[in-house]
């Protein structure tokens, strides 16, 4: 039978079927589900992250590995009762009101997800009150706001203002992104961070989560 060590390799290879098979077999043999996640699946995605940083692996491959890891985690989770599933932090993310563009936001979501964050993606055209409701419900450490249009950038400030009015501002860090957005704009509206691309967005979130 394949071992926990093999699971790591299957995640690196993005072989979703073998990850599922092996996880199921290990669980059936009575292996500890947390050990499967922490010693089998997560080291795989960490290695993928390292290879990506070194330039030997590309984002689509990282995404496929992340899907393989998640398939394993989902199976293992079913066997865990009460225990906390380890993650890097929760982030509520969305494209602000009036804006339908989600490619950049989705990239950030996928990459955060692949890096072990619990991502609550609210989608596009998200009004401020929906962000507030999500912060109350999910208690994230970070709120991520995206805009592609210069005309919808002011809606980012509206979310920050709404967080202040609801006395939630000091409980979360707000990070913003999108083609017309800049560090200067982040400073202007009082956001906690800005990243110019998806990879740097992940680094930013890891730093401030």
């Amino acid at each position: 039978m394949a071992s926990i060590k093999d699971l790591t390799e299957f995640v690196i290879q993005a072989d979703i079927e073998k990850v599922k098979e092996t996880t199921a077999a290990l669980l059936a043999a009575g292996e500890d589900p947390l050990k499967i996640i922490n010693e089998g699946l997560i080291p795989g995605i960490n290695e993928v992250g390292e290879r990506f940083k070194e330039g030997n692996l590309f984002v689509p491959e990282m995404m496929m590995s992340a899907q393989a890891m998640k398939a394993g985690v989902d199976l293992a989770k079913e066997k865990i009762e009460g225990a906390d599933i380890p993650n890097a932090g929760t982030i509520v993310i969305g494209t602000v009101a009036g804006d339908l563009h989600d490619i950049g936001k989705n990239l950030v979501s996928m990459m955060l997800d692949s890096s072990g964050f619990n991502v609550v993606d609210l989608g596009v055209d998200v009004p401020a009150d929906k962000f507030i409701a999500a912060v109350k419900e999910h208690k994230p450490s970070i709120v991520g706001l995206s805009a592609l249009l210069t005309t919808t950038m002011p809606a980012m400030k509206e979310v920050i203002d709404a967080l202040k009015e609801s006395n939630l501002r000091d409980q979360v860090k707000v990070v913003i992104g999108g083609a017309p957005v800049s560090q200067a704009y982040a400073d202007e509206i009082g956001a906690d961070g800005y990243a110019p691309d998806a990879a740097l967005a992940v680094e930013l979130c890891k730093k401030i989560a």
């Binding site: 330039g55 984002v59 689509p60 339908l100 563009h101 990239l107 210069t150 002011p154 691309d197 998806a198």
Partner: protein, 483 residues
């Protein structure tokens, strides 16, 4: 080669075979029929439904091929654009090529100091005057995003700047239909009335879907306004291959074509026969950096598909040239921008924009713009092709000069040498005379040209009463928006 570009005396260029064109068309029809689109606009959804589209339980609009055929039938195959003086200057049809600058860059790269900064109103006005002065550039766009005016007024003020600083036709970006209405008002004042503008268009409106397969409210609203007012308009997806469209060139073209055709269908349902400009572009995602890159080889192939498809559909074509993903006006910028310009010319793209874009559209370089003016001139010379009539085959001249002679003193040389391409920036002198003239690099010569244009070029002014009307439109818009 039926849908290949055809230029002077035998020059032709083709990207796709007829079978490939049919395969792409069929794939796009399948996308519109089987996958459908989401229309965020009630009137548009209604128009499509009444026209024969099917709206499913998930709210997706499925468009049958019959609707596409009807739209292709009613849309005009050619559009003439007029300058501010009422002269026809752009003929969008077949393989005719025209070039222009780009819109809304975020960063102005100062050509003299190399400083990167936000654009001011004065810098945008100057940049538009530079485009006005350069002979190879056929139309203007807004160049830079104004950092010193209220965000809601940017598009209107950019348009006033274009009218005041150039006679050339424009391609216009506008955030919504009320902005287009104000722009139309200003254009009408400049050219002599609404009716004249409607029949002798002075600007093209740039609209886009939100890929994949979504029609946002503002875009559709502008598209319908343009149809109603016969403003030439495109519906051009900016494909981010690997993110907003499939990663392959053919997949990106199939989807972007479906989106453009969907825009065309809606546009022709609103006003059959209104002018529509077909085209789209791509900037594939670099899978290491997640940056959408301009002017890579796949994008040039994609544009080849756009141009062949436009002739297959008998629609005028829209595309790109003279742009780059480089961060500076450097060797990469010149390589990419030159390649795009020459390819676009060969492909026979009717209206190519973004000449002067670097950093994949975030930064504008006036140095690149000036250099591309000469590159376009070189490309246009190539498109003239080779004249092979007896006078040009010159057998008589060969007889006169004979073995061991010299053509320099022959009448045939004197008669035809002026037809040869002449540089405006490139230097063909000897090393010693180049050195004696200051050993100026191309970059220095470009800056000199820019400086002299900036100091000396005066665009044909607007009549004072027209300026007043334009300023009044701006003022009324400010009042309406409470600025």
């Amino acid at each position: 080669m039926e849908y290949a570009s055809k230029h002077g005396d035998g020059i032709a260029f083709r990207t796709l075979t007829l079978q490939q064109l049919k395969d792409i068309h069929s794939a796009s029809c399948r996308i519109l029929d089987e996958v459908g689109v989401i229309v965020h606009h009630d009137e548009a959804a209604d128009l499509l439904k009444k026209g024969g589209a099917y709206i499913d339980s998930k709210g997706r609009t499925h468009i049958p091929e019959a609707l596409i055929k009807r739209a292709l039938h009613s849309a005009p195959s050619r559009i003439t654009l007029y300058n501010r003086l009422g002269e026809p200057v752009i003929w969008m049809e077949k393989s005719n090529v025209h070039f222009g600058a780009g819109s809304d860059t975020l960063v102005y790269l100062d050509p003299f100091t190399g400083e990167r900064r936000d654009w001011t109103t004065e810098e945008v006005a100057t940049a538009i005057r530079v485009v006005d002065a350069l002979p190879q550039l056929d139309f203007v766009m807004s160049m830079g995003l104004l950092s010193d005016v209220d965000k809601r007024m940017i598009n209107r003020i950019q348009y006033a700047l274009m009218l005041k600083n150039s006679v050339k036709p424009q391609v216009v970006i506008a955030e919504d239909a009320p902005t287009v209405a104000d722009i139309t008002e200003m254009a009408a004042a400049a050219v002599g009335g609404r009716e004249k503008l409607k029949n002798m268009p002075h600007f093209v409106l740039y609209c886009e879907p939100t890929s994949p397969l979504q029609l946002p409210f503002e875009s559709v609203d502008k598209l319908l306004y343009a149809a109603e007012n016969k403003i030439p308009v495109n519906f051009a997806c900016g494909a981010v291959e690997g993110a907003s469209t499939p990663v392959t060139v053919a997949g990106a073209v199939a989807q972007a074509n479906a989106e453009a055709l969907c825009g065309l269908v809606l546009h022709q349902l609103k006003n059959p026969g209104a002018p529509f400009l077909y085209g789209f572009g791509g900037s594939p995602l670099d899978m290491r950096t997640m940056v959408a890159c301009y002017a890579v080889p796949e994008v040039l192939l994609l544009q080849g598909c756009v141009c062949d498809l436009s002739r297959f559909y008998s629609l005028p074509s829209w595309g790109y040239a003279g742009c780059s993903s480089s961060k500076d006006f450097d060797e990469q910028a010149i390589a990419e921008a030159t390649m795009f310009t020459v390819m676009g010319a060969l492909q026979g793209c009717n209206l190519m924009h973004d000449v002067f874009y670097i950093e994949s559209g975030r930064t504008g370089s006036l140095e690149l713009l000036v250099l591309m003016d000469e590159v376009i001139s070189r490309a246009r010379h190539i498109l003239k092709g080779v004249n092979t009539t007896p006078e040009y085959l010159a057998v008589d001249a060969v007889k006169r000069v004979g073995p061991g002679g010299n053509y320099l003193g022959d009448a045939h040389t004197a008669k035809h040498f002026r037809e040869k391409w002449q540089p405006t920036l490139s230097d063909f002198s000897t090393y010693s005379s180049w050195e004696a003239a200051g050993a100026k690099s191309m970059r220095e010569r470009i800056r000199e040209r820019l400086r002299s244009i900036m100091q000396e070029h005066k665009p044909v002014p607007l009549a004072p009463e027209v300026e007043e009307k334009i300023d009044a439109v701006i003022k009324q818009a400010k009042d309406r928006l409470g600025i």
